[in-house]
Symmetry: C2
C-alpha cells in the first residue's frame, strides 16, 4: 500500500488538536445546556429535493448512492444528499415530529456538515457546526432574538480564544428603510448591500442601480444606512436622522434596540448594532447575527444566524424560529493555523505505570486500576524495558508522572518527570495536583 | 411543504433519547481516556479504492459526488465513499501520519459510519461506533490483546445496561488446529465454522467438506473444537484433550490463556473463552472478541474486534494492531426498543425562572444568569403568562423547579413542582439537591 495523502477540504486534526477540539466542544455544549437547550442529532442525509429548496446552495450538495445500486438514478425522487447545514434538517425534523415536541422547542445540535465548495483558508468541505435554535408554533416572542447573543457570548467567552464581537442587524430595518425611500425590490437591495465589504461602496451603488432600480439619491441613502454602527441604542437615533419613515422600519428598530440593550447589560462590549450586516440567505426575516474574531476579521464571520419565520410550515401551521451557528472547524482551523491554541500533553494519561518485568505486569495493571478507579488516567508501560526507556515513553507524550511499583517488601514510588522529584506513594491514596489531572488547554 | 417521513435505516433519536446517548458516549469516552487512549476523528470519506480493499463489503459502500460535478465519474480514481467502519480509516491515518505519531499509538474514535445494507432490527445504514485500537511499529506486545477486554468491561459496566459477556478466541488456535488435523485451507474452514450459530453443526460439517475438503473425522474435530467454552484457562485442557499438536496452536492457546486470566483477575465473569467465535473479517490474525448483552443474545454481538497484523503496511514497515468497537447505535436501538433506558427529564434545565411581566424580563434574566454562573442549568419562561401556565411549561418538560422573582421589596421564592414545596431563596446561594442538578439516566 503506497502512502496515502490528504484530501483537500477534508481536514483531520492530530490527536492533540482533537483533544483541544473536544475541550472546545465540551465548553460550548455545557453553555448550551446551562441555557436549557436540549440536544438533537439528525441523520447526515436528507432527500435531495429538501436540500435543493434553497436554490443558491444546490451546487454545493453532495449526492450519495450505493455503489452497486445501478437501478437507482442518482438524482431520482428518492435520491439522498449530505446535509450542508443544520438548519434545513432541523426545520424538517420539527415538521416531522411536531406532534411529539413541546413548543417553544429549544435545541442545540453539534454535527458535521458537507459542502462541495472550492476549499480555501477557513473554508472546508467537511466541517463541524454547533447550532442553537428556538422554534415556536405560530408565534415566537421577539425576546428570543435578544437571548441568542447571550448564549453565544457565554459560549465563546468560555474558550481560550481572542475576543469576539457579535454584529447584529434586523432585516425589518433594511426592508422597511428601502420601502420607505421608495425601492420596490428590497430583496435585491439587500443582496447588493451584502457585498459592501467585498466590493466597496461605489460598486454597491452601481449594483443598487442595476439590480434594484435605485436612483443616485436612493443608493446614497442605502449606503448611509449601511454605515451606521453603534455599541448601544444610539444607532436608532442615527437611523431616524436619515428621515425615513416606515412601520416595518420602526418595528425593526425597536427589536434591535432590545437585542443591543439586553446584550449590553449581560456582557458589555459583546454586541454592536452594525447595519451593513445582511446575511446572504433569503430566509431571514428579523434579527441577523455575524461574529468577528479579533485579529481574524478578514476571514469573515465565525458564528452567524438570524430569525426565520417561514423555513418550516405545514399547511396553515407555521414554525417561526431563531438560530445561530458556531463554525467550530473554521474557528479551530484559523487558531491552529497561527498556533494560537496549545495543550499541556499529547494523550489523556496522567501517569505511566512502569513494568519491572513481563512477569510483574499484573502488579502494574493493579496499580493502574487503583488510579483509574479514583479518576486518574493511567497507562501501563507497553514494555518492561529499562526504566530510562519507560520514562522516555512518558516524556515523548508529555505525560507528567511515572509510577514505579516497589519490589517485594518495598513500597511504590512516583516520579514527576518534569522536576525529577520522586516520592513514596500508594495507588489508593496518591493524587496529582488538580492542574495535572487532565490535559490543560491554553 | 408536506409532512416529511423517516428514511429507513437512518435512525433519529428524540431529544430525551439523545440525552441518554450523550450520557452513554460520555461514559465510554471517560473510560477510554482513563486508559490513556488519545482521541482521533478522521474525515467521513475515503478514496473508493481504499474502501474496496476488503472485497466482501463493497456492496455496502455509499459513493458521494457533487451534484453538478458532471465531469467526474462517480467511480473514477478519485471517487470518494463514506467510511463503513473506523478501522480502515484508522489504518490509513496511521500510514499517512506514521512519521508524526508516537508508537505504540493508543487511540479511540467515536464517529458515525454508513453501510448500505438492508435495514433490520439492530441493523442500521447510519450508526455510531466507539472504537479503541493500539498499533505499534513492526511488533505489538501480545499483552495488549489482554488489555482490550479490561477497557471494554469497564466502559460497558459503567452504563445502566444489562450484564455483558465478552467471548474471546484466538485465530491461531483455529488455524493451528486445522493445520494440525491436516486441513490445507484453514481460511475456508474458519468461514464455515463462523456460520455455526446460523446454520447448525450438520450444515457446517457439510460446508467443511465442500469448501475446505474436510473428511468426516476432520469435520468432527473442527466441531469439537468449536464446542469448547470455559470462563477460565481450563479451555486449554479441553483443547489439548483433542490430541492435536501444532506450534501455532500452542501459541494461540498461550495467548488466549493470558487474555482470560487477565480478565478474570480484573472483572470476574466478564470474559469467556469461546472457541466458536471466528469473526467474518479476513484480516484478524490473533485474539478475536465478540460481546453479548444478556437478554439480547439473538441480535448478535454489540462489541467486536480482534488483532490484525497486516491491515497497515508501507513497504517493509508493518503496523500490527489490536482493536475493538462498541456498536453504540445498535446497543441503544435494542434498549430503546424495550424501553430499558429512561431519563428523569426531557431537557437539561433544572430551573424555569418565571417572568412576572414582559417589562420585568430583565430581572428574570439576571436570576437565570446567577444560577448558570454556579453551574445550574436554567431557562427563562418564554412568556409572562399566568404563573399556572408557566408552571405547566416546566411540568411538560419534567423540569423540577420554578423560580419566582420577588416583587419590589419582596424576596425571590423557588418551588419544587413535584412536591409543591415553595421556599424563599436567593439566586446567588440556592443550590438544588445533587440528584436534581442534571438529568438522571437509569
Amino acid at each position: 500500500m503506497s502512502k496515502p495523502t490528504p484530501i483537500s477540504g477534508f481536514p483531520e486534526w492530530t490527536p492533540s488538536q482533537r483533544m483541544i477540539e473536544q475541550y472546545v466542544l465540551d465548553r460550548i455544549r455545557n453553555t448550551f445546556e446551562l441555557y436549557g437547550f436540549a440536544p438533537l442529532e439528525t441523520r447526515a442525509v436528507e432527500p435531495l429535493d429538501q436540500l435543493l429548496r434553497k436554490g443558491e446552495t444546490s451546487k454545493e450538495v453532495y449526492v450519495i448512492r450505493r455503489l452497486h445500486d445501478d437501478e437507482q438514478g442518482p438524482a431520482g425522487d428518492d435520491a439522498l444528499g449530505l446535509h450542508f447545514d443544520l438548519t434545513v434538517p432541523f426545520a424538517r425534523y420539527v415538521l416531522e415530529n411536531a406532534g411529539k415536541l413541546q413548543f417553544p422547542f429549544r435545541r442545540y445540535q453539534i454535527q458535521k456538515v458537507w459542502r462541495g465548495e472550492r476549499p480555501q483558508e477557513g473554508r472546508y468541505r467537511e466541517f463541524v457546526q454547533a447550532d442553537i435554535d428556538i422554534v415556536d408554533r405560530d408565534n415566537l416572542g421577539a425576546h428570543h432574538e435578544a437571548e441568542m447573543p447571550l448564549v453565544i457570548g457565554d459560549a465563546l467567552r468560555s474558550l481560550p480564544i481572542p475576543e469576539v464581537r457579535i454584529q447584529v442587524n434586523n432585516r425589518k430595518i433594511c426592508e422597511g428603510f428601502y420601502r420607505g425611500i421608495g425601492l420596490t425590490d428590497p430583496e435585491a437591495a439587500l443582496r447588493a448591500v451584502d457585498k459592501l465589504d467585498k466590493i466597496g461602496p461605489a460598486k454597491v451603488a452601481e449594483l443598487l442601480a442595476q439590480t434594484a432600480g435605485a436612483s443616485e439619491a436612493q443608493a446614497k441613502a442605502c449606503l448611509a444606512l449601511a454605515e451606521i454602527s453603534a455599541p448601544d441604542a444610539s444607532f436608532a437615533d442615527a437611523v431616524r436622522a436619515l428621515g425615513v419613515s416606515d412601520p416595518m422600519l420602526d418595528e425593526g428598530i425597536e427589536e434591535l434596540v432590545r437585542v443591543v440593550e439586553t446584550a449590553a447589560e449581560h456582557s458589555p462590549g459583546l454586541c454592536v448594532a452594525d447595519l451593513r450586516i445582511a446575511r446572504g440567505l433569503d430566509y431571514y426575516t428579523g434579527t441577523v447575527y455575524e461574529t468577528q474574531l479579533r485579529g481574524y476579521e478578514r476571514y469573515g464571520s465565525i458564528c452567524s444566524g438570524g430569525r426565520y419565520d417561514n423555513l418550516a410550515s405545514s399547511g396553515a401551521v407555521r414554525f417561526p424560529g431563531v438560530g445561530i451557528s458556531i463554525g467550530v472547524t473554521r474557528l479551530l482551523g484559523l487558531l491552529f493555523g497561527t498556533d494560537a491554541l496549545s495543550i499541556s500533553r499529547d494523550v489523556p494519561a496522567c501517569v505511566v505505570v512502569a513494568v519491572t518485568s513481563e512477569e510483574q505486569r499484573a502488579a502494574s495493571n493493579r496499580v493502574a486500576d487503583a488510579l483509574r478507579r479514583r479518576g486518574i488516567p493511567a497507562e501501563v508501560s507497553p514494555s518492561a524495558a529499562k526504566f530510562g526507556k519507560q520514562i522516555r515513553y512518558a516524556e515523548r507524550r508529555r505525560i507528567p508522572y511515572v509510577w514505579f511499583p516497589g519490589a517485594e517488601g518495598a513500597g511504590d514510588e512516583v516520579k514527576d518527570i518534569r522536576s525529577g522529584d520522586q516520592v513514596a506513594a500508594t495507588a489508593d491514596t496518591w493524587t496529582p495536583p488538580a492542574a495535572d489531572l487532565k490535559p490543560l488547554v491554553s
